[in-house]
């Protein structure tokens, strides 16, 4: 409540005079800290169930239960760090400074509202507010046509989603007899509830950017300023996941959701693979991150689908494990993605571009930013012992338990999903390695990159905080899982993992698998340090600096190092089927190389729809003949159809 209020206040104060900007950011930070505190307070031994708030005369409830609290954690962490980050960052972008404070405040407030809502109306209100505020943020740079187009597509998708969600909520309210979530929870299972659930999941999928509804995401997220992108990718997408979890596991009591589960697993798997392949070929650093969000949201969705599948088949313990993996990944991805988007902002500030092809060699000029960015990349690439690995490991363990299921077909579905997960993990590593290497390694590819300077301390501090959280949650996933256990116990009556201590996690039994990141890190450090100590005796410590080897030619120039596009080229060739790639050599003298890579979903799915709509509208235009008789005829026909529908 307090957090929401503060966020609103932040928004309002940003609307005020320029001198209030600092206050607005402070308020925003405070709201973030408040939500973080609220979440932690509940999960670390606050009231065991939920905190209910009523809004006086308005019959809406806001409830803070463990599930909301879990989602409040990343929100709080990200909001408070971006508040720290935003001021030096925005000061730099003088031309584009449009006082995004108002929209940011409302954006955060409406996200908190969605998380706390225990009633359909505040939920929808928050949902719409979130969409609107983020739209405003996307079109920050509305003088750029790409930005406007991104905003338009984003608005279209958001509103279609909202419409579908409204329909779903209507159906649910109709079936349960009221819009209060408590009523829904109590309502018996029904076909209409099932349909509503499917519709709602569709809306959530659009929000989460799942395939094939992902096309808006790589356009919209990069268009906003970096800290807003961080907020959108790290938090807003998770709100959609929150909606899925809330509806599927809490509000709607569906006993047999096989179809939905399978759909979620499939969609999740497709999103993972397509997302990571798209991320691999992007040239814009924020687009890479946005596409990687598609991948990670796909992963979470797949985990949710797995949980749903396990629950449907009566393995509540395994369902809890899969749900735990999903929620853990939500937390980890939020932290990592926020870190990387802030890193992207830092890079942009330093070399004035988001184009990977114009960066390079930044590590030597921005060692701290580089180190932090590397940490984020390694974490997101699921490299042990960082945090991205912990959640993927848990998901693998959940999939590994599929032998407990009786039905053969379902049992074989899970290994397929695991195969996709394995592929995605490997490709994700490639993608993030390319991202880091293109920006930070090698030589500078442009003049600004050559002159880049380290970011201001506040920005580094913000990223450092996120990085510290990433490292901590990577080394002590047990602590997070202890908190998540509360959610899974509340929803599925089982803890996510059987043993979770600060040092080790054991999903089922110790004979099946366990993972102790701190211990392995210790062993690795010991080996590395021993080796280094053995080799670095004083007489051998010296090393000589020379020119890089270029086959006897002078020192290699920046043109002689691999480019981001070329780095991904062999892999791009392998996955050419998922992309539409156009290459050609053009003038002058056939020495200009053109490369266009696009998402094939456009060609395969959206272009036909667009063509169909166009032709439909042409046909419709033919109806507009202007003759009164014809119009009257249409009206009559419509009336007849309506009567028929009502009687049915």
């Amino acid at each position: 409540m307090l957090a929401m209020g503060l966020a609103m206040a932040a928004g309002l104060s940003a609307a005020g005079p320029r001198s209030w900007e600092r206050l607005a950011l402070q308020l925003l930070g405070a709201s973030g800290l408040c939500s973080l505190a609220a979440g932690l307070w509940l999960l670390l031994g606050g009231p065991s169930d939920a905190v209910v708030m009523t809004l006086g005369v308005i019959p809406w409830h806001l409830i803070l239960d463990p599930l909301s609290a879990v989602f409040l954690l990343p929100l709080g962490a990200v909001v408070s760090t971006i508040a720290l980050y935003a001021r030096p960052y925005l000061l730099h972008i003088e031309t584009g400074f449009r006082r995004p404070g108002v929209a940011t405040g409302f954006f955060v407030a409406s996200m908190i509202l969605v998380l706390l809502a225990a009633h359909a109306f505040p939920f929808m209100l928050g949902w719409e507010g979130m969409a609107l505020a983020s739209y405003l943020l996307v079109i920050q740079h509305h003088e750029e046509s790409a930005s406007r187009q991104a905003g338009l597509i984003y608005l279209l998708v958001a509103h279609m989603g909202a419409l579908v969600l409204l329909l779903a909520f209507g159906l649910l309210a109709h079936g349960a007899g009221g819009p209060d979530f408590a009523q829904w929870r109590a309502a018996p299972a029904s076909a209409s509830a099932m349909a509503a659930l499917a519709l709602a999941c569709l809306a959530f999928a659009a929000k989460a950017g799942l395939v094939p509804l992902h096309v808006w995401l790589p356009l919209a997220h990069p268009a906003a300023p970096s800290h807003i992108s961080a907020l959108m990718s790290a938090v807003m997408l998770k709100i959609a996941i929150y909606g899925m979890v809330r509806l599927c596991f809490d509000l709607v009591s569906v006993q047999s959701a096989l179809g939905l589960a399978v759909t979620m697993i499939t969609t999740g798997a497709l999103s993972m693979v397509l997302g990571v392949v798209l991320a691999l070929v992007q040239q814009d650093i924020k687009r890479v991150l946005a596409c990687s969000s598609i991948e990670n949201l796909g992963l979470v969705t797949m985990a949710l689908g797995l949980a749903l599948l396990y629950r449907t088949t009566g393995h509540a313990m395994l369902a809890a494990m899969a749900l735990g993996a999903a929620l853990l990944h939500v937390l980890n991805h939020a932290l990592l993605k926020a870190l990387l988007f802030l890193g992207a902002g830092t890079i942009q500030q330093a070399c004035d571009t988001y184009d990977l092809g114009r960066m390079g060699g930044l590590l030597r000029r921005m060692p701290a930013s580089g180190g932090l960015f590397l940490l984020g990349c390694l974490g997101l690439a699921a490299i042990p012992p960082l945090n991205g690995f912990a959640s993927e490991w848990l998901l693998f363990q959940a999939a590994l338990q599929s032998w407990q299921m009786e039905q053969g077909i379902l049992r074989s579905l899970i290994p397929l999903a695991a195969a996709c997960l394995a592929l995605t993990t490997a490709l994700g590593t490639a993608c993030l390695l390319r991202l880091f290497a293109s920006a930070f390694l090698g030589q500078a590819r442009s003049r600004p990159a050559r002159r880049a300077r380290e970011a201001p301390r506040a920005m580094l501090l913000a990223q450092g905080m996120l990085a510290a959280l990433c490292v901590l949650s990577g080394l002590f996933p047990g602590l997070l899982l202890m908190m998540l256990n509360q959610v899974t116990v509340a929803l599925l009556h089982h803890p996510a993992v059987q043993t979770a201590s600060a040092l080790i996690i054991t999903p089922v039994t110790a004979t099946q698998a366990s993972y102790a990141p701190l211990a392995v890190l210790a062993v690795i450090m010991i080996i590395a340090l021993c080796t280094a100590a053995l080799l670095h005796t004083r007489k051998r410590a010296a090393l000589r600096r020379v020119q890089p080897w270029a086959c006897g030619l002078g020192p290699p120039t920046a043109r002689m190092q691999i480019t981001p596009a070329a780095l991904a080229m062999p892999l791009r060739q392998v996955f050419a089927g998922l992309l539409s790639i156009h290459e050609r050599l053009g003038s002058p003298q056939g020495r200009r190389y053109h490369l266009e890579i696009a998402d094939r979903t456009w060609d395969l799915l959206y272009a036909p729809v667009a063509r169909f709509v166009m032709s439909l509208s042409r046909h419709a235009a033919r109806l507009q003949s202007g003759r009164v008789r014809l119009y009257l005829g249409f009206s009559l026909g419509t009336l007849l159809v309506l009567l028929w529908v009502m009687s049915w």
């Binding site: 000589r544 020379v546 020119q547 080897w549 006897g552 030619l553 002078g554």
Partner: protein, 173 residues
Amino acid sequence: MIRILRTILSNTTCTDAPPQLDAHALEQAGIAVRRMLDAQCRASLAIRQVDAGSCNGCELEIGALENPYHDLERFGVRFVASPRHADALLVTGPVSRHMAEALLRTWDAMAEPRLVIAAGDCACNGGLFGTSYASLGGVDQVIPVDVFIPGCPPPPERLLLGILAAMGRHVRA
């Protein structure tokens, strides 16, 4: 595949016996050793070959060192792609002025301890090409040379002898 295997099996190992390594043999071959590598390299040596303007004859004979008859690898000697990995630089040719800079760069790129072996008459003293507007006449005009192997081109046996001498093998033998 069967045919390949059969061919392999029908041919026996044809590697020559290792050469006699003593001061007399070196003297007879005309190999001059000024310095050799230390004990670590006695059984393992990585060579980076640089043609600094030869007529390709020395390269043909150096290439022959890898064939089954001479089998340089059995002595722990390998040709490597990068000068960073190399202990010895095997240079041929009279060092054309155009190659001098590249040769120097290659030498710079190597890690200590490093050794230079000049193979062939041209590399030793300019040979037929001598010193001219285009040729510097010998490797020691550009970088310090430690082992000289004469011959136009030196036959593989002599090259082998020179390389083993550079490794300090004859000291132990």
